[in-house]
């Protein structure tokens, strides 16, 4: 706390107190506690499956698939925007790669690069539309959600006559792609999907960018008070457009991982992922209004998602309950977030 009357005494004690206080004021604290709690619950309820290395690898892979999206979404949401189109983009990017390989003989890696460029273009367009129209990104990307999904299904059916394209391992470049996007990394005899490492890598980069770079400061500023940020020279529009492209990149990465892993593309892939990603990000402590949040939180939010989803399977609970749980977690997380924000915003007097 700042005071106008200066008293230096007791500063030594303050160091410890502020360390604890700083920890308590971190946005991801709630998600960290939640992750530990969820882990403990399933460790007790379903120890044999859940605690095994194989079980761990399985829930981490589920977490990773959502987490790749959630990390990118967390950056965008801290900058004050939503992207509902990423689920559709997952289907779009996968279908693009698969169509190019199966219909036109394009090697998979080249197809994936084309899909990446197109995905980034969609992300750019989302950002451009949000900035030019000044409409809420919720509306703009809700539009793109349906446009992209419809385009993907329509185009794929037009070209291939189907909505699924399989047997991708027969095409050129598959083995190379598999190493990067779909291999297993053995740890203590159990294969851990490489997607887990992609997830953690992205989470690490995003955290570093957010907390230790100039752009990170701009992201917080763009979401916290765009007008004030512009006033001091932050290129708010560029920051936001860049982040829409980042979420598009994440959607492409997940699409590529899925397409290579299951050796097929499905135009319906990625459905609802945009909502699960938002839930993971919100559980991770990011405010829906922007300006406050954490990429580590998004990693933890995705971890909770994966643990619950697989944990329920290990515990023999019907998968229907998964939705109940995620919905309840979302509401509780928002309540906790609001409490934290009120504390952070509370004026001294």
């Amino acid at each position: 706390m700042a005071t106008t009357t200066v008293t230096q005494e007791g500063d030594e004690r303050l160091v410890e107190a502020s360390l604890l206080k700083r920890l308590l004021s971190r946005p991801e604290l709630g998600a960290a506690a939640g992750a530990i709690l969820v882990w403990l619950i399933f460790a007790i309820v379903a120890p044999t499956g859940f605690l095994s290395l194989r079980g761990t690898a399985s829930y981490l892979e589920v977490s990773a698939q959502l987490g790749i999206l959630a990390v990118a979404v967390s950056l965008l949401m801290i900058a004050g925007e939503f992207d509902l189109s990423i689920g559709s983009l997952v289907g779009f990017a996968g279908a693009t790669t698969a169509i190019l390989a199966s219909q036109y003989g394009v090697p998979l890696y080249l197809g994936a690069i084309v899909a990446l460029v197109l995905s980034l273009a969609v992300g750019f367009l989302n950002g451009y539309m949000v900035i030019k129209t000044k409409l809420p990104s919720f509306i703009i990307t809700l539009g793109s959600l349906f446009i992209i999904r419809g385009l993907t299904i329509g185009t794929t059916r037009l070209i291939t006559g189907r909505t699924q394209i399989g047997g991708l391992d027969d095409y050129a470049g598959y083995d190379f792609m598999r190493v990067i996007f779909a291999s297993d990394i053995p740890i203590a005899g159990v294969g851990f999907s490489i997607s887990i490492f992609w997830w953690l890598l992205l989470g690490g980069i995003a955290t570093w960018v957010l907390l230790r770079t100039q752009i990170g400061n701009w992201i917080f500023g763009s979401g916290g008070a765009p007008q004030a940020a512009r006033q001091v020279g932050v290129p708010v529009d560029k920051v936001k457009t860049g982040l829409f492209m980042t979420t598009a990149f994440a959607a492409w990465l997940l699409a590529t991982i899925q397409v290579i892993t299951v050796k097929s593309a499905d135009t319906l892939r990625g459905e609802q992922q945009e909502f699960f990603a938002i839930i993971a990000v919100v559980i991770g402590g990011t405010l829906l209004t922007g300006g406050y949040g954490s990429a580590i939180g998004a990693v933890l939010g995705a971890l909770i998602f994966g643990m619950v989803k697989q944990g329920l399977v290990f515990a023999g609970v019907d998968a229907d309950w998964f939705y109940v749980f995620m919905g309840a977690m979302l509401v509780i997380a928002v309540l906790v977030n609001n409490y934290i924000r009120r504390r952070a915003e509370a004026a001294r007097k």
């Binding site: 700083r22 770079t213 100039q214 400061n217 701009w218 004026a347």
Partner: protein, 297 residues
């Protein structure tokens, strides 16, 4: 207090049209370093238009704008900033959920390292923010605490300290005291005096004559897009200032409230005020808060 010398910024016969509306009509004023120029006027007098013109947000339709004797044309606030003209807006100064040091350096972050490893120098930012605030007389124990934990007056002073640190020669303060309580307004007034002591030119926009009179060296009064001219403290009593700002009719209408505001003395703690002054001060403050609540920025 004020130094003699050439003005840092000066405008001559500035006129600004918005379509068919004449927002400013031949306004001239100047600011020197180490001088607090108060820009007074009721709502709609043209204060905002004038400072936005000075800050590079608007371009004047007619008239000349000089910075240190050179005529300038600003296309953007960035241009003005590059000429050392920093503007602190009343409610747009700070981002509450960001830390003090992050706010302090937002848009001009210090970095260390290079290439891919170029990073935000958090320690440097914390150290400088703390030191600069200390220069303004505010002790911040933890620069990483959110700005939201500061009082309104302290937030304004973070913005002022930031502008000073980044080499502002002229500070334009857009109603920094309007949303604040009496005590907090006092805090901000102290920082205005601090900035003057550090030889900055300050343009202090307010419609509170008491705040203006407390720190101002010169007073420019705007009404309906025109200026009554610039006065020094000797030339203009507080009462005259108020009359010029608002006009006698409105004052008469307020006169029945005279007795209610004896407590204004305690709040302002300025012994020299006459009874009429108290009434005017209080009435104006009340009117001001009503206006503020209606005003859409």
């Amino acid at each position: 207090m004020s130094k003699n010398g050439n003005p840092i910024i000066e405008v001559r016969n500035i006129t600004k049209y918005f379509g068919s509306v004449i927002a400013l009509n031949g306004v001239s004023m100047a600011v020197r370093s180490g001088e607090v120029m108060c820009l007074l006027g009721d709502n709609g007098a043209g204060k905002s238009t004038l400072i936005k013109t000075l800050a590079g947000v608007h371009q004047q339709s007619e008239g000349e704008y000089f910075v240190e004797g050179q005529e300038v044309h600003f296309d953007s606030p960035r241009d003005a900033l590059d000429h050392g003209i920093a503007t602190v807006y009343q409610d747009l100064a700070m981002i509450p959920l960001m830390s003090i040091s992050r706010n302090f350096f937002l848009g001009s972050e210090p970095t260390k390292g290079s290439g891919l490893f170029k990073r935000f120098d958090v320690k440097f930012a914390d150290r400088v923010a703390k030191a600069e605030m200390a220069k303004m007389g505010i002790d911040i124990r933890d620069p990483s605490q959110p700005v939201g934990t500061l009082s309104g007056g302290e937030r304004q002073s973070v913005a002022i300290a930031r502008a000073v640190y980044f080499g502002a020669k002229v500070l334009i303060l857009d109603e920094p005291t309007a949303a604040l309580g009496v005590k907090q307004a006092g805090t901000v007034l102290r920082y205005i005096a601090q900035a003057r002591a550090r030889n900055l030119g300050v343009i202090f926009i307010t419609h509170n004559p008491h705040h203006a009179y407390a720190v101002g060296d010169k007073f420019t009064i705007l009404k309906r897009g025109r200026t009554f001219g610039t006065f020094t403290k000797d030339e203009l009593s507080r009462e005259e200032m108020v009359r010029m700002m608002s006009g006698a009719d409105e004052l008469d209408a307020l006169s029945h409230e005279l007795q209610e505001f004896e407590h204004a003395d305690k709040l302002h703690g300025e012994g020299k005020m006459s009874e009429v002054d108290h009434a005017l001060a209080a009435s104006l403050e009340e009117g001001e808060s009503l206006l503020n609540s209606k005003k859409e920025q």
